[in-house]
Symmetry: C2
Subunit: 192 residues, 2 copies
Amino acid sequence: MQELVERINTEGIHVGGGIVKLDGFLNHQVDPMLTERMGSAFHDEFSKLGIGKPDKIVTAEVSGIPAALATARIYNVPVLYARKHQSSVMTDIYYCAQTKSRTKGVDVTLLISRQYLTAGEKIIIIDDFLATGSTVKALSSIIDASGASLIGIGCVIEKPQEGGRAMLGFRSLPIVSLAKIELRGEELHVYE
Amino acid sequence: MQELVERINTEGIHVGGGIVKLDGFLNHQVDPMLTERMGSAFHDEFSKLGIGKPDKIVTAEVSGIPAALATARIYNVPVLYARKHQSSVMTDIYYCAQTKSRTKGVDVTLLISRQYLTAGEKIIIIDDFLATGSTVKALSSIIDASGASLIGIGCVIEKPQEGGRAMLGFRSLPIVSLAKIELRGEELHVYE
């Protein structure tokens, strides 16, 4: 997605260690029109790969939500976001899986209510970053536990050097990323 | 918003203490089409009240994001969500304000980067619930500190019995809610 590559090049701030701050349009302030075009781009890429309409989009709070919602809107299906914190309103039985927060340096438990994932449902995961693959792996283990089927994975930005795609090891499952970021020396390289 | 009143009546679960769980379409699973109509409803209500186009929509993570994004999309302006957790990517200078989580029972610090709020900007706050008003108050104090102007407040669901509207005490600032929930005895009453 060339527009996204340009926005990352113009507005991305490398804060060190390969972590890129994209608070102007992705992780703090969100550009709703760019987000809408991300949803269309995911839809079009999945269609090209022969992936049909899912029953649900799954993501993790917080920064995955805008792109996941835009994708869900195109497919006209619900989006389900894994919670990271127990609250007094969380009275269901939950599927849980551990992930590591790349930017907070801590283990995080992802929770999805059993009520909203059903055996046989076709699921697409959408998230903002694919780095080590830890969040996608946790979400996919929850989907497996529910008996639903993961049919595709979309991430707004992939960081191939962190090895997430290889770690996930999905041989027949398409992973779509809209832009890729690599650190070469001290320089960021951004490409489609 | 009659559609929303019906969804709350059909799917809302009263978990006690006046707290209503709306995980099927608002707080865990999100209905993108209903969310889009919420955005249109906010836009239409603000227009009726003579509130013009804002420069930015402000909300707080997590559950305010979908409705805020839908509203931002209608106005074609950015949405800025206050973060609740420091991460290693948060390297800016932030405005901070305290709020209380109604469902987690703890104090929470809301953070918005100084970079994304500018003196003179017109802001609409959108959030999922208006109960005690604590989150809206924290967001409005941040907006005040930045020199931006709050021109309207929209909440998906208001709980008038918790006194948020009165506590906020905005005499000339419109507060739009799309549905209201009251606890009468043990029964929930939901109305426009």
